[in-house]
Symmetry: C2
Subunit: 395 residues, 2 copies
């Protein structure tokens, strides 16, 4: 019997209970007859109608002091008290599995270190890409590779908004309202549309890929609220889709990490990733580009990843994921990295200043073009003085 405690019985937490109950026979088969049992649910609310209603407690210490609890599942969301509870559980010698990207991105290094000291696991497959297997494959299946870059569409809400804008001609505000009415975006959508959620996730992936602690506070982050339908139409005419990306690249100068909207060429399979879907492309020096695609959020997909981590622990696959414990910031200044810009302008001098670029004229005297590749800071200088309508990086 693998006894677990679920902290936070919201969407993901109740999904975990549902997957365990729904697939109990196939899970037990995979665990050579062992069963996963939800012994406690920590929540301030009570769930008298739920089959597991009698497992609900408000007393975290009861969980901590019960030696039968092998795994603590943290699905509370938010930094506090999720971080403190995770820390105390690990210190008490319990494995912790989480879907909480905020905690992993900001406190992952410390929690992984505590897990190692206590010879337990801190696993977080569900923190990036919902049910898409990405943490474990990067750590394990791509172990033979030096990872060169990781690029992802990591937030379903913003991808849904961008898809609706271009496919149905909506403007940003309309598309956001639709996302809210369908329950994809929250009433306060800032964490999604300002890129904060994407930024946390690319920090987790970058830390894992390059073995160093990449913190959100060190990463340049732009959202999609300034993207207009006109940008998308002009980008489309040039053969590109606009996507909010998290991108991390291992360079000679350090780790280049950014969260921002990017133009993605139609020949890149990420350009075709629409609606609430996520996709993550990992480039390894032996394997080349590998893409993982699927629903990046939702109750059961996310719960599926949490339960897979529980199964890993139950199978005693006790090899902890690690990344560096160094406190140095490995992130380079994004302005010193090379990039290209998609530019919309009404300024006719652009054609002289950026010769050789393919220009796309629109009816109202506007131009759109894609610059040559140059340091971002130098490109910004070169564009100084132009009346730029919009300026978006190109992948």
């Amino acid at each position: 019997m693998i006894n677990i405690a679920i902290l936070g019985f919201g969407v993901v937490g109740s999904g975990v209970a549902e997957v365990i109950s729904e697939n109990s026979d196939s899970l037990s088969e995979k665990l050579s007859g062992e069963e996963i049992c939800v012994k406690y649910i920590l929540d301030k609310r009570s769930f008298p109608e739920h089959a597991l209603g009698n497992r609900v407690t408000m007393d975290f210490d009861m969980i901590l002091n019960d030696p039968e609890v092998i795994v603590v599942v943290e699905t509370m969301g938010g930094s506090h008290p999720a971080y403190e509870f995770s820390k105390r559980a690990l210190e008490a010698g319990k494995n912790v599995v989480t879907s909480n990207k905020e905690v992993v991105a900001n406190f992952g290094t410390e929690l992984l270190s505590i897990a190692r000291e206590n010879n337990v696991n801190y696993l977080f497959e569900a923190s990036v890409g919902g049910g898409i297997p990405i943490i474990r494959p990067m750590w394990q299946c791509l172990a033979a590779n030096k990872i060169e870059s990781v690029t992802g569409i990591l937030n379903g809400t913003t991808n849904f908004i961008l898809t609706k804008m271009i496919s149905e001609g909506m403007d940003f505000e309309e598309a956001l309202k639709l996302a809210q009415s369908l329950g994809y975006a929250e009433a306060n959508p800032a964490a999604d549309i300002e890129g904060i959620d994407t930024c946390r996730k690319i920090c987790i992936l970058a830390s894992l890929a390059f073995g160093k602690t990449v913190l959100p506070e060190n990463v340049h982050c732009e959202g999609i609220s300034d993207i207009t339908l006109e940008d998308m139409t002009a980008a489309e005419a040039l053969g590109y889709s606009i996507k909010l990306l998290g991108r991390a690249e291992n360079t000679d100068d350090g780790i280049y990490v950014i969260t921002a909207p990017f133009l993605v060429g139609y020949d890149n399979p990420m350009a075709g990733v629409n609606d609430v879907y996520n996709a993550i492309t990992v480039c390894g020096n032996a394997v080349g580009d590998i893409m993982f695609y699927g629903k990046g959020a939702g109750k059961l997909p996310t719960a599926s990843a949490v339960v897979a981590d529980i199964v890993d622990i139950a199978r005693e696959c006790k090899k902890n994921i690690i990344w560096s414990f160094s406190k140095d910031n490995p992130v380079t200044d994004y302005r010193s990295a090379k990039t290209r810009f998609f530019v919309r302008t009404e300024d006719p001098r652009a054609k002289e200043y950026f010769p050789g670029c393919v220009f796309c004229d629109s009816e109202n005297g506007e131009y759109a073009f894609i610059t040559d590749e140059d340091k971002e800071s130098r490109l910004s200088e070169r564009l100084t003085g132009f009346s730029v309508i919009s300026k978006i990086r190109v992948l």
Copy 2:
């Protein structure tokens, strides 16, 4: 020191040595300082110029009797003596890692059983999808799911041929010659174009997904040599791409497995998988559809998967993959499964017999349409008497 022996120093075998040497520092980091050392290479040829030339032997028993050899890497190809060598290595208590889909598909059940008895691993990530992580993610990351179906573009050569046909208007023979001249197709391309390679791979995936032994001899297999440019053009007009798929589905009647060309709608991301790329979509009851995409073959991608398996063993992640050892054939009659057909015909009666279908007329009095869903055997009966030009299943 993790000592390994490589059996067969061809494309994949030499790639394994290259990845180990090229990425030795990052591998050693992942193995807490341990190094992987190629102690023996078994081959009939000698490689005097190669840095590892002095490790070459023709004596398999020397490898078998050396207690320092922890992992035997089987990259020989073909069934014999690869099967016998793998078996003897496992019986001698050595872990075996392979890229050999022919051996895994036909003898996997037995070899996995021998591995378990001897408390060692038989790992085969490289046997399907080259460097794309798929075996381990299905086994581990999707462990919380009941897998409902697996569908894959599993052979790069045939996907290249189909891509060239539609994108450059080549006929099948022209595209095959191009694939051969680029080294993608072998002089005798039967295993690829007749679907045999795809069939082996879908058998491995089906066995793993459903926990039962699915053997190639029990699976209906069609290749792409009958697909014409006209088929592809008519399919395109209806909004579909033609792909050679391996497909396995868990049904109430047993496991439905087939290898055949299928029409894939443009709204399915698999329709956009072109050239030598592979993609595998797994549908789990919690996670929904997950797609894995990348180069399905090639020296370094395949070697990358082999080395990941070696790293797994070195990390002592000793949880063997298993599937059923029952000798019963779990595969249902593919003709009793429901499907739809894309049909090209000159027979005007088709419009009466298949009312409600969308017909696409071509200039020369031909029709193309997609039937309603019905048992395959019944659809074939319903089409008896029609002069059918071609008939392809629709995903």
